[in-house]
Symmetry: C2
Subunit: 220 residues, 2 copies
């Protein structure tokens, strides 16, 4: 599948590398590809790209143009601004897998959420791009657990929600390729209120457990 990843941070890179490894055609979208590649040194994108030559890099609009599936791996606070750079019709008909969280760190740590309870980032994105088929997914685990769930001693649960069944089926297949074995469909995109509101306990668990390598398994 032709996949565009929006976001050059840890989540974007980890998913890009893993999807390429699984045989997909992956392009990372960024504002200015040359500037992004010029950032070299330990932990910078240029060095990462040199080690992941199978992954393409392009402007947001170009990356999205050829893609069947687009991953929103941007910072939640920047997501709507970045998606606007894909052009007025760039996302129409695409499956848009939204893994971002509406984190607000302007008041310090722990982060709060800038939208919650009666609305969600997933819904805001779906409303802004009604012709896109938004599926909220993977926002309840960190980058490593997203891409390599087998790092945990037993399978956890991941959640999907969205208004389009075909889009959810596509995302489910992709999550299974990543190794996720327990995928629960929470219904329409308003389910994003639920999964985004898991972040406050996730942040506190990180503190309590001393690291982000964990997941929630729904025992039933």
């Amino acid at each position: 599948m032709d996949i565009a990843i929006l976001g050059t941070g840890l989540v974007g890179r980890t998913l890009a590398g893993r999807f390429a490894e699984l045989g997909h055609t992956v392009t990372v979208g960024t504002r200015d590809p040359q500037a992004t590649l010029a950032r070299t040194g330990e932990g910078e994108f240029g060095d990462w790209a040199a080690q992941h030559r199978a992954v393409g890099i392009a402007t947001f609009a170009d990356a999205v143009g050829a893609a069947e599936l687009v991953v929103n791996a941007t910072n939640g606070g920047a997501s709507l601004d970045v998606l606007a750079l894909t052009g007025p019709h760039g996302l129409a008909g695409k499956v848009l897998m939204d893994v971002a969280n509406p984190l607000d760190v302007t008041h310090g740590l722990p982060p709060t959420l800038f939208v919650k309870d009666t609305d969600s980032l997933g819904e805001r994105i779906q409303r802004a791009y009604p012709a896109a088929r938004v599926v909220k997914a993977l926002n309840t685990v960190n980058a490593m657990v997203m891409a390599h769930p087998e790092v945990l001693p037993e399978p956890g649960t991941v959640f999907i929600c969205g208004n389009n069944q075909d889009a959810k089926a596509t995302v489910t297949t992709l999550l299974a390729e990543l190794g996720h074995r327990d995928i629960i469909d929470l219904g329409d995109i308003t389910g994003a209120r639920g999964t985004e509101m898991m972040i406050p306990v996730w942040v506190r668990l990180w503190g309590a457990l001393g690291g982000p390598a964990f997941n929630f398994k729904v025992v039933r």
Copy 2:
């Protein structure tokens, strides 16, 4: 231990019956004990009390008076009003295990939360009763899983948080008696923001799974 349960609903009854079964001295607090006992018929408190004679019933103030540990099993929206009926010093020094959730159903279903993210019901209770030792616990599972975690095919996780270590140790012992095997301490009472905000996904999971018999296990 002498335990007062505030709340005559399903959660209050289930915990009261189970704590009595475990050998504790349990008193359910209510506004008007005679009126509560006079409610007879299928599913009413009078019938339940007749089948659970080891459980006492008293006014809120009297129930709390003798108790070492008080369980807030009231409806979240009524919790502060009910706690006020325990008298100005009734809760001083007590361990107050708060299992309530700040559910707002005034706008229909699914419920939203009337406090969240930058505050929580647990914190409101602790601020209103600074001499009480509030421990938020068990609010992420339904009454049956609270009292009989062994109904699930494998142990899930329950969370505690609060400002007083001794109070958390007391609650941890009690949770272990109920059968909970994985109890994670999220830190001070602000951790209640995290566990209370798990309710929106919990509600959607109830729908997706077709019932409330589930729990979150933190796999790590």
